[in-house]
Subunit: 154 residues, 4 copies
């Protein structure tokens, strides 16, 4: 069971990432689901996101953006889940230090599709630094890209 | 000295990347310079590219996009420079196979600034696969991000 | 079902990697299992492999070595599995071009344990380039390290 | 000018890495030079370090090991250089937390040569986390490998 503080904090973060980050709005990035078990971030294909007009595929930069957002949210959810006695102030403070240190993206298949979903898992859960792996699939379940990211969480 | 074919091919690619890639247009990505010695890609800060409204910094996804574009153009320039007897048909064929296999991005400092310039260098020049390192600086010369990318070139 | 040629080729490779690579002998690297479904590579802890004498943990270079070997063998098994009409000559030719282009290693937990096992999966199966993810666990199932590698296979 | 404390601390670390890490002794790894401006780590080719007996080239795991050691020492030198009022106790404490979080290795050319030298540079200097780039050259100046590593320094 999650505490009300944990739920509230993640809900606030989802709201910020969904509505108040200008670049997310430009791409149409949508936080479909976010709780301490993970995140689901979705981007629908639209003409402005195309990287190759002959093949109608998603630009690799959109893929990288989506994986990076997924990794950051996954790392933060892991931090929130690591204790059940956080105060809201502590979590808001931690959010200000959240940032990507480095990320690797593996572009596995061309970004064809209508709807791209990113998900992630924490593989190193630290109080200062966490590492996540991330995946991007299209609406048919095709595995488009894989990522690994190292995040500052404190 | 470069052959006319080499110059023409790179000019065509610069033109495509500068004007005919929808996602580059969305970001305002500008190919300032492109020849067999390298590339200079510029993005000017604008409100839609912000990742953190409290700090007014460039979204990491924009940084990753710019480094990836720089790496692809750098790898292709290296391929073009590797022979002086290319035909235009051969180079156009090679362009269709150009693609990122994987990329690492190191986010070194917050993306503050008005104008971000990306440059790159080939560190492994192959006939099939090339590896580049890429850098992003702001208008004050601050080193914002570093990247390493592996590109399919044939 | 696998053809006799596939089985024979992988058996030969396992034999070379297990007995005829000087650095594998120095480390005591053991190819426990190798077929078209994957590989299991084992290293037993011994004093010479220690990286930190106060903590008795495996040197990160041993971890990196093991993940790289796992990735190469996984990529080659994927190539062998991709067709069932290989000739032995073709596979021996491919083996000569097998090589790591780049690799990322995530060191997740200290390398404590008696026996470390590396396993891998192909995530991009190409005729020229393949990408694998690799994991290292100790004898208690603790996840010590994660890797992603890009391999030339043709 | 460096303080006596800084010099002493780096000299102690060089001594440990040069003589008291079992895996470094197994490989014959030699800390040629270490001060706050950087490090030079050398490995001489010997039969046990070979990865491919037909081509007599260094095993990729040796390359990865050397780059990782260079990165760790470079990150620590950067930390030491960041303040001139360290006490020896503080630096010894920091040394116990020094560790690689993740590393990328780009294998640029076959590891041919008699003597391999690794050098590095800090590209992100933090109080908790630093990022370095590393290079490996042989005695002829051939650039064999490039690396990027993220290190915990506090």
């Amino acid at each position: 069971m999650t505490s009300s503080i944990q739920d509230q904090a993640l809900q606030q973060v989802a709201d910020i990432f969904d509505k108040h980050v200008p670049f997310h709005n430009l791409l149409g990035l949508d936080i479909k689901h976010y709780d301490i078990n993970g995140v689901e971030v979705v981007i629908k294909m639209k003409p402005e996101l195309i990287g190759n007009i002959h093949q109608n595929i998603l630009h690799g930069g959109v893929t990288a953006t989506l994986l990076d957002v997924v990794g950051g949210l996954t790392a933060f959810a892991g931090l929130v889940a690591s204790r059940d006695d956080w105060t809201m102030e502590e979590l808001q403070q931690r959010l200000t230090t959240l940032g990507t240190i480095d990320m690797r993206v593996d572009f596995l298949r061309p970004g064809r599709g209508e709807r791209f979903t990113g998900t992630g898992t924490v593989i190193r859960a630290g109080n200062r630094v966490s590492v996540c792996k991330m995946e991007l699939h299209n609406e048919l379940g095709t595995h488009i890209a894989f990522g690994t990211g190292t995040y500052m969480v404190g």
